[in-house]
C-alpha cells in the first residue's frame, strides 16, 4: 500500500514528522532487552548478592554485605589478574595482526564467494573446542607431529612446546581468531569501493589509500574486534588448563577453582565482578584515549 507521491510544494517542504521514529529504538530493543534482563541481569544481580556473603561450603553462607570481599580477593589474586591482562593484550595484538589481512582480502577480493570464505573461517570452530585442543596436543606434544619431525631432523631432545606460556597464548589466539575476523570483515566489507578509487584518482598509491581511507573507515570494526577478542582472552581458562604448566594459570582458572572445587562462592563471585570491573575500566580508558564524544549516525 503506497502513499501517493507528494506533489504539493508545501507537502514536499513539510518536515517529516519523526514522531514514529522516537518509539522505534524501544521497539527494536524490546524483545532482546527483555531476554537479557530475565536471563542475564537477574542472575548477575543474584551473583552480586553472593559476592557479599561470608562463610564456607560445609557450614553454609550468610549474607553480611561484606564489601571487604572485593578488596581481599584483589590482593590475593593480583598476580593472576596482571598475568591475564598481559596475556589478553598479547593475544589481541597477535589476533588483530593475523586476522586483518584475511578480513581485508575476503571483503575486497572475495567477490560473490565472500560468504563461502567466511564460512570456511568459521568451519573448524563447529568442531568442539576440546577436540581441537586434543588435536593440538597431539600436534604439539614432545614427540608429536611437529616436534617429533623436528627432533628427527636434529632439534634438541629437550624441546617442549606443550605446558608452556607460548602454547597458552597460541591456543587462546587460535580459538579467538574468528571473533577477530568477523567484525573486521563486516566493517571492511561495507566500505564503498568508489571511495578507494577516488583516493587513487587523487594520486595516492595503494598504501596511502589504505592508511588514509580504508583503515580509518574500518575502525569501528577494529574496535569491535578488540572488544570481542580481548575480553574472552582475559577470561579464558580452558587453554591454560590444557596447554599450560605451573605459573600459567589465569584469573579464569582461579574463579573456576574457587567455584567448583573450593566452593567458596563469595570469593568466586567477588573475583568475577572484579574481572568485569577491570575490563570495564579498560574499555572506558580506551574510548577516552581516542578522545571521542558520542557520535550518532
Amino acid at each position: 500500500m503506497e502513499r501517493p507521491l507528494p506533489t504539493d510544494l508545501r507537502e514536499l517542504t513539510k518536515r517529516r514528522k519523526r514522531r514514529g521514529r522516537s518509539l522505534a529504538p524501544y521497539a527494536l530493543l524490546g524483545p532482546g532487552a527483555l531476554w537479557l534482563f530475565l536471563l542475564f541481569l537477574i542472575p548477575m544481580v543474584s551473583m552480586g548478592g553472593i559476592a557479599l556473603q561470608e562463610g564456607n561450603a560445609l557450614d553454609g553462607f550468610v549474607q553480611t554485605f561484606r564489601f571487604a570481599n572485593f578488596t581481599e580477593v584483589l590482593s590475593k589474586n593480583e598476580e593472576f589478574l596482571v598475568r591475564s591482562l598481559r596475556n589478553g593484550a598479547i593475544v589481541t595484538a597477535l589476533a588483530l595482526v593475523i586476522a586483518y589481512p584475511v578480513a581485508y582480502w575476503i571483503a575486497f577480493y572475495g567477490g560473490r564467494a565472500k560468504n563461502v570464505f567466511l564460512f570456511l573461517v568459521l568451519l573448524p570452530f563447529l568442531v568442539s573446542f576440546s577436540i581441537r585442543t586434543v588435536a593440538w596436543s597431539f600436534i604439539l606434544s614432545d614427540n608429536g607431529l611437529v616436534l617429533g619431525a623436528l627432533k628427527s631432523l636434529g632439534a634438541p631432545e629437550g624441546w617442549t612446546i606443550l605446558n608452556t606460556t607460548p602454547a597458552v597464548i597460541a591456543g587462546i589466539t587460535y580459538n579467538l581468531l574468528p571473533f577477530t575476523v568477523l567484525p573486521l570483515y563486516v566493517s571492511l566489507e561495507r566500505i564503498d569501493r568508489s571511495v578507494v578509487e577516488a583516493a587513487k584518482d587523487l594520486y595516492s598509491n595503494r598504501f596511502e589509500a589504505f592508511r588514509k581511507v580504508v583503515f580509518p573507515l574500518s575502525l569501528p570494526g577494529v574496535f569491535a574486534a578488540i572488544l570481542l577478542t580481548s575480553i574472552p582472552a582475559v577470561g579464558d581458562y580452558l587453554n591454560a588448563t590444557v596447554l599450560g604448566g605451573p605459573g600459567d594459570f589465569m584469573i579464569g582458572n582461579v574463579i573456576q577453582d574457587e567455584f567448583l572445587t573450593a566452593r567458596d562462592y563469595p570469593e568466586a563471585a567477588a573475583l568475577a565482578f572484579l574481572l568485569m570491573a577491570v575490563l570495564l575500566v579498560g574499555a572506558v580508558l580506551y574510548a577516552r584515549l581516542l578522545g571521542t564524544e558520542e557520535v550518532t549516525t
Binding site: G60, N143, D257, L260, V284, A287, T292
Partner: protein, 436 residues
C-alpha cells in the same frame, strides 16, 4: 597534510571513529544503573540465597531415610525406572553381535527384576557434577538422579553433612552385608555405610614409562629426580597432599595443620624447582601416553587398562611406592528426593553378588568391593583361551585389583573434614600450589 590537532591522532583516523561508543556521560549514567543494580541485589540477596542447614547426622524419625520411610517405599514397590548416573567407562559394555552395545550386568538386573535402568555416564569429575546438582538440592527439588557415584572427598562430605543423601537401610542390602570386603565396610568417610556403598575402589600410586625411565621406581623420591625435570606429573586434587604426607611419614587421617605445612613446603619446592610439568585433574593419561610425562602420579585402573589392551604401551609400569599410596573409593549413593530409592538400593546391592562383581571388575580393572569375585575371575581365566585368557589371568593375579596384605598395609585413607574452617585452611594452603 597532517595538521596539529588537540589529540595526537591522525585526523583521518578520528574521522573513522563513527560508531557510537561510551562517552564519559554515558558511562556515568550507566554507573548509576550499576549502583542501582547493586542495591537491588542487596534486597534480592537478603531474601533469595539459600543457606545451608545445620549438619544432619541421620534421618529424622519418620523422615526420609528412616526405617519407617523405607518400609513405606518397599510396600509401594519399586518404580518402573531407576536413573543411574555414573562415571564414563565404568560399567561393562559389550557388542551384542548385532552392532548394538549392551551392558551385561545391568541387563541381567533388568531382566531379573523387571525394573528398567536408565544409565548415564554424566559424571566427569566430582566437583563439576556436584556443582550441577547443588542448586536443586539446596532448593529442595529432585535432582533427577536415583543413584549417583561420588568419590570420597570434600563433595561427598558436603553431601552427607548437608543432608543431601538418603540414609540407606541395610536390611535391604543382603548381598552387601554378606559379600562386601571388610576394608570398605564402615569407612572413615562414611561410618557404618550410612549413606554409601562402594562401586569400585582404586589406588593412587606412581606410573612410569620404561622408555624414558631406566630404573624400577620404588620410592617417591623418584618424583624429585632431576633427570626427569619437566616431565613429572602430579595431581591437582587431594590425592597429592595426602600422599605427600604419607610419604613424609605422616598418617594423613590424623594430620594436623603443622603436618599440612610440611607437605605444602615439599610440594612448593618440587614445583619451584621446575620438576613438575603440570598438575593434572584427570587427563594425566593422555600426557603420559604421548610421552610428555615420563613419571607421574597415577590411578591403578587407568594404567592396567593400557597395559592390557594397548600393546604399544607395553612400556608402562605402575606401582605403589614403599612409602605408601592412597586407596580411594567411588561410592554409590542416593540423593535426596530421588524418585525411585527402593529401585536404586536394589541396583546398588545387585552389584555385590560375586559373579556380577567379577564381570564388572574384569571390565574396568579397578579394585572390587567383593573379594569373592576374585576367585570367579580366576575361574573365568581358566576357562578362557587366547587373548581373553591372558587378560583375565592378569586381572585375577594383579595385586592392584585384588590387593594382597602387603599392599594393603601400604595404602592410606584420606583426611576427612568436619568443620568448614578446617576445610578452608586446607584449601587455602594447597590450592594455590596447583592453581598457580
Amino acid at each position: 597534510m597532517t595538521e596539529q590537532r588537540h589529540s595526537n591522532v591522525d585526523p583521518s583516523w578520528l574521522r573513522g571513529l563513527t560508531s557510537p561508543r561510551m562517552s564519559r556521560r554515558s558511562v556515568l549514567k550507566s554507573m548509576g544503573v550499576g549502583a542501582g543494580a547493586l542495591s537491588l541485589s542487596a534486597i534480592l540477596a537478603a531474601c533469595g540465597t539459600p543457606e545451608a542447614e545445620a549438619p544432619v547426622t541421620g534421618a529424622q524419625p519418620g523422615g526420609e531415610g528412616s526405617p519407617e520411610w523405607w518400609a513405606e517405599r518397599v510396600a509401594e514397590g519399586p518404580g518402573e525406572n531407576v536413573n543411574f548416573t555414573n562415571w564414563p567407562q565404568y560399567i561393562d559394555l559389550k557388542g551384542d553381535g548385532e552392532g548394538n552395545r549392551v551392558r551385561p550386568t545391568l541387563d541381567a538386573f533388568i531382566e531379573e527384576t523387571g525394573i528398567n535402568v536408565t544409565y548415564r555416564a554424566d559424571i566427569n569429575d566430582n566437583a563439576g557434577f556436584y556443582a550441577s546438582i547443588r542448586p536443586a538440592l539446596e532448593a529442595g527439588e529432585p535432582t533427577g538422579h536415583d543413584i549417583i557415584v561420588i568419590t570420597n572427598g570434600t563433595e561427598l562430605t558436603e553431601l552427607r553433612q548437608r543432608g543431601f543423601l538418603i540414609e540407606l537401610d541395610h536390611s535391604l542390602t543382603p548381598n552387601f552385608n554378606a559379600n562386601a570386603d571388610p576394608s570398605i565396610v564402615d569407612p572413615a568417610f562414611d561410618p557404618d555405610n550410612q549413606y554409601t556403598m562402594s562401586w569400585q575402589s582404586g589406588m593412587t600410586g606412581i606410573a612410569w614409562n620404561t622408555d624414558f625411565v631406566d630404573e624400577e621406581v620404588t620410592s617417591f623420591e623418584s618424583l624429585l629426580d632431576d633427570r626427569y625435570a619437566g616431565h613429572i606429573g602430579m595431581f591437582a586434587n587431594d590425592d597429592t597432599p595426602n600422599l605427600v604426607m604419607a610419604w613424609l611419614g605422616i598418617e594423613p587421617t590424623t594430620s594436623t595443620p603443622e603436618d599440612w605445612q610440611k607437605a605444602a613446603d615439599w610440594m612448593v619446592e618440587q614445583r619451584d624447582s621446575g620438576l613438575v610439568r603440570a598438575y593434572y585433574t584427570q587427563d594425566f593419561l593422555r600426557a603420559f601416553q604421548e610421552g610428555d610425562l615420563w613419571i607421574t602420579m597415577a590411578w591403578s585402573g587407568d594404567i592396567i587398562n593400557q597395559q592390557l589392551y594397548n600393546p604399544q604401551y607395553a612400556s608402562f609400569r605402575f606401582d605403589v611406592p614403599q612409602e605408601g599410596g592412597m586407596l580411594w573409593t567411588d561410592n554409590c549413593c542416593i540423593p535426596t528426593l530421588a524418585e525411585n530409592p527402593y529401585g536404586a538400593i536394589q541396583v546398588m546391592d545387585w552389584y555385590y553378588q560375586p559373579d556380577i562383581a567379577a564381570l564388572l571388575t574384569e571390565w574396568n580393572a579397578y579394585v572390587s568391593p567383593v573379594p569373592a569375585g576374585g576367585e570367579l575371575v580366576q575361574q573365568h581365566a581358566d576357562e578362557a583361551s587366547g587373548g581373553t585368557k591372558t587378560i583375565l589371568q592378569t586381572i585375577a593375579g594383579s595385586p592392584y585389583v585384588f590387593p594382597d596384605a602387603d599392599l594393603s598395609s601400604r595404602l592410606y585413607s584420606y583426611r576427612e573434614f568436619t568443620t568448614g574452617e578446617e576445610l578452608e585452611q586446607w584449601n587455602d594452603l594447597f590450592r594455590p600450589i596447583y592453581v598457580s
